[in-house]
Every structure is written in structure tokens, then in C-alpha cells.
């Protein structure tokens, strides 16, 4: 299945139990002061998009980046999911979650997008999705979507409470902790049987 037009791509922060566990008591301390109530979203703008097989360039000042392996819902309409696609949501490692991390998150090419959108009724229940992340062929992370705080349907409903997704928009389910770090020269494969494999290589940006 392919899309007529790719819409806005949204990511979801803190939707894996492991992310909350890692923060622990910090969630109640300054500057956060309380655990999040509503879904915490961010935008991956069009300049970040890299197709499957494409190279992702790291600027000279960036030694390594984090891989955010996840699955996105591809919307058919505001409340209906057309299908699912693999995503490689790349960021420069950073500590604080207080401000939107635009300068860590929105660099050119910093979102690998799978080329296979699997229809909702063929993909199965997202709660049993499991993907594997390999760096240069070596297994580095297994992501189990049974560990989501808000399962896909619930996330969609809670997001829909404050904004409307459009046909072609994509909403990522979240990135678990244990994100592999990679450098220029590394090859990253994100694989899930139902959705295929998303492969991106990392290269040093041309001077």
C-alpha cells in the first residue's frame, strides 16, 4: 500500500513504561514537577524524512546519535488507522525533556521511514508488535509494544481529544529506553516480520 500524500509526522514521548521507570522520582521534581497527564507529542518536519535505504548525515559536531526504533500509525482519517509503518526516529542525545528538543530532533534526514505500509487488518494487534534493531548486523535492541503506557487505540483517542489528525498523518507509538547509539559508518536495520525492514546508513556530512 502507498500513500497519496504523506502528512505531518508526530512522535510520542514517554509512552513506554521503561521511559517512566528511568525517570523515577525525577518526574515529580523541578522542572517537571508532575508526571505527564496528556500525551506528549512532537513533530518530525519534512526536512527530517529519509526513505528506506537512504543515508542519514551526521554534522561534524555530532559524534553519535540515538536510534528511536518504532512503529507509526498511518491515518486514513481522524480516527481511523489505514496501516502501520516502521520508523527510525533519530536524535542527538540530550538529557532534559522540559523544552521541545528541536535542535536535537529536527536535523535534516533525522527520521527514517519504512517503505512498507501494512494495512491495519493485515498487521495484527499492535499490542503484540515486536521489532528488532540491528547495528552492523548485531542485535542491539528488542522493542515490545506490549510495554506501551497508552496502547495504540488509547493513544489515538487521547490525542484526538485535543487535535485532529488528517489523512496521511502519522503518529509514532513511542521509543523505548535502551536506544542504541550509532556513529558515521554504522548501518541500522529495524525489522518486524509484518512490516519488513527499514535500513539506514549513517554517514559524515560532506563538508
Amino acid at each position: 500500500m502507498s500513500l497519496v500524500k504523506r502528512g505531518t509526522v508526530y512522535g510520542t514521548l514517554l509512552n513506554f513504561r521503561g521511559e517512566l521507570d528511568a525517570l523515577g522520582p525525577k518526574m515529580n521534581e523541578a522542572p517537571y514537577k508532575a508526571p505527564p497527564q496528556a500525551p506528549v507529542l512532537y513533530v518530525k518536519p519534512a526536512n527530517t524524512w529519509t526513505e528506506n535505504g537512504g543515508a542519514i548525515a551526521l554534522p561534524a559536531h555530532v559524534a553519535e546519535v540515538e536510534i528511536g526504533a518504532t512503529v507509526a500509525m498511518v491515518m486514513k482519517s481522524a480516527r481511523e488507522v489505514a496501516g502501520y509503518v516502521l520508523m527510525n526516529d533519530v536524535c542527538i542525545p540530550h538529557e532534559s525533556l522540559f523544552r521541545p528538543p528541536v535542535r536535537f530532533n529536527c536535523l535534516d534526514g533525522f527520521l527514517g521511514i519504512g517503505d512498507r505500509i501494512r494495512l491495519r487488518n493485515e498487521a495484527g494487534d499492535p499490542a503484540v508488535f515486536k521489532l528488532e534493531v540491528r547495528v552492523n548486523g548485531e542485535l542491539k535492541q528488542t522493542v515490545r509494544f506490549s510495554q506501551l503506557l497508552r496502547p495504540a487505540d488509547r493513544l489515538l483517542a487521547d490525542v484526538g481529544e485535543f487535535m485532529t489528525l488528517a489523512e496521511g498523518d502519522m503518529l509514532m507509538l513511542g521509543c523505548d529506553v535502551g536506544r542504541p547509539r550509532v556513529r558515521a559508518g554504522d548501518r541500522v536495520e529495524i525489522k518486524m516480520p509484518a512490516l519488513g525492514t527499514l535500513t539506514n546508513t549513517f554517514v559524515a556530512e560532506a563538508a
Binding site: L41, V43, A46, N47, L97, R99, P100
Partner: protein, 249 residues
């Protein structure tokens, strides 16, 4: 030139301002209240990037009890947040504090990557007015301001006009003003921005490529107040235009 995009009798038109009226492409002249206004932006192949600044006026930063930032506070929003001139924006029933934010919006005209600030204006197509409403009740300290506050459907009116860059001699010296039901509530001047337009274009294009039609909403000065359903909010910038919005329940 002042350019608009409007729907007149079911047809989408590009239009220009002529003696207070709209001159449509087919030569018709119509009054401004005879059309439905859209954001004054050409459609783009990929979703436009909408960058919005927070705390970019020293006085507003003070009002919000934060120290002035040493790097910009920026967030992104999706296209469905945008709305046209003379439309309505919804105020949820259960909230205590919904405020406007009058902002100079910069529309990018050319692909911009690693632009130096001395060249920055070459990459600007023009300017318009944004009203970047916020619902403060929903603020949380995770990626603040979070999208529930800032990315609500139709809660970022834009317009009425896209004013060509060449028509604005100095965008860093424009008076801004907001009225609510005709009463002035917010006044400022773009000269008081902490990070000015050339600085912002150099900063953003240093790590992300900006494309034609992308937007930078440059932040708002002091003077935001709560607005209720039925209030008519006019955000106005000298030489750019007066953007009207009505709050709906």
C-alpha cells in the same frame, strides 16, 4: 503587494489588495466580508514546517516569570493548527485561561540551508500576522509548551495578507497591537525581540533546511489576557495587517 487566498462563491482564488477591496485573479473586485479567508499561503507538496518562538520578547519573558533565554525556545506545530482571517477559534468549556498571542510571521521564500544572518532576508518571501492562541490550563512541563496547549485545530489564525518582503523596509521596527472587543490589551514593537529575524534564520537553517512556505512565528510581547467565547480579537501589525478572530464556545 498584499496577497490573500480566499474562497468566493465556492471557488478558491488568489487575490490582492486593491483600495480596501480584494481583486481576484479573474478581475472581479469583492469586499473583504464577501469571502472566506484562508491562510495567505500557497499550497506545498509536503507539510510545511511551522516553527514558533516562545519568550522571544524580554517583557513577555518577564511576565511569564522566566528569565530571558540564552537560546530560543522553539516548538513546532502541524498545519491543521492554522486558520484564516475572520474565522472562529474554539475555547473548550472547562478552561480558565485562553489567551491570544500577536506575532509577526515570516514566510520563507527560498530553500534555506546554512544561511548567514547577513543574507537572511534574501530567503524571506514576506510577512503576515499570526495569532498563536494558547490554553494555559493544559500546560505541562514536558516539551513545554506541549502540543495540547499549542497545536489545537484552527487555534493559530494567520493573515489576512502575505505582504511582500520588499514592501517592508524594516521588519524589526513594527508596532504590534491586540484589541479585544475594540479595547487595546497588548502593545509592543518587533524591535524588542530577543532573537531577531536574521538571527533566527541563521540559527534554524544551521541545522534544518527550510523550504518555501515554511513559517517562523516570532513570539509575542507583554500583555496577554484571558478571552471568553464571543470575544472578537484583532491582532495587528503595522504595515502587515489586522487579523480578526472570534472565540467560539
Amino acid at each position: 503587494m498584499k496577497r490573500a487566498r480566499v474562497i468566493h462563491q465556492g471557488m478558491l482564488h488568489n487575490a490582492t489588495e486593491r483600495d480596501g477591496q480584494l481583486l481576484l485573479e479573474d478581475g472581479q473586485r469583492v469586499w473583504q466580508d464577501q469571502v472566506t479567508w484562508l491562510p495567505p499561503l500557497a499550497s506545498v507538496d509536503r507539510p510545511r514546517t511551522i516553527l514558533a518562538l516562545g519568550l522571544n520578547y524580554a517583557d513577555h519573558a518577564k511576565e511569564l516569570a522566566f528569565k530571558a533565554p540564552d537560546e530560543p525556545l522553539v516548538f513546532l506545530k502541524g498545519e491543521r493548527a492554522l486558520n484564516g482571517h475572520r474565522q472562529t477559534t474554539r475555547r473548550p468549556a472547562d478552561v480558565q485561561f485562553m489567551h491570544y498571542e500577536c506575532e509577526l510571521a515570516v514566510v520563507i521564500g527560498r530553500k534555506a540551508k546554512k544561511v548567514r544572518r547577513d543574507d537572511a532576508y534574501d530567503f524571506v518571501a514576506g510577512y503576515t500576522v499570526a495569532n498563536d492562541y494558547a490554553i494555559r490550563d493544559y500546560l505541562e512541563n514536558w516539551y513545554r509548551p506541549n502540543l495540547r496547549v499549542k497545536n489545537r485545530d484552527g487555534a493559530t489564525p494567520l493573515g489576512p495578507w502575505l505582504v511582500d518582503r520588499a514592501d517592508i523596509a524594516d521588519p524589526m521596527a513594527l508596532a504590534l497591537r491586540t484589541t479585544v472587543n475594540g479595547k487595546p490589551t497588548q502593545q509592543g514593537n518587533t524591535k524588542d525581540m530577543i532573537f531577531d529575524i536574521p538571527w533566527l534564520i541563521e540559527y534554524f537553517s544551521g541545522f534544518m533546511t527550510l523550504s518555501p512556505g515554511d513559517l517562523i512565528l516570532t513570539g509575542t510581547p507583554d500583555g496577554v489576557v484571558d478571552c471568553k467565547a464571543g470575544d472578537v480579537v484583532v491582532t495587528e501589525i503595522e504595515g502587515i495587517g489586522a487579523l480578526m478572530n472570534t472565540i467560539a464556545s
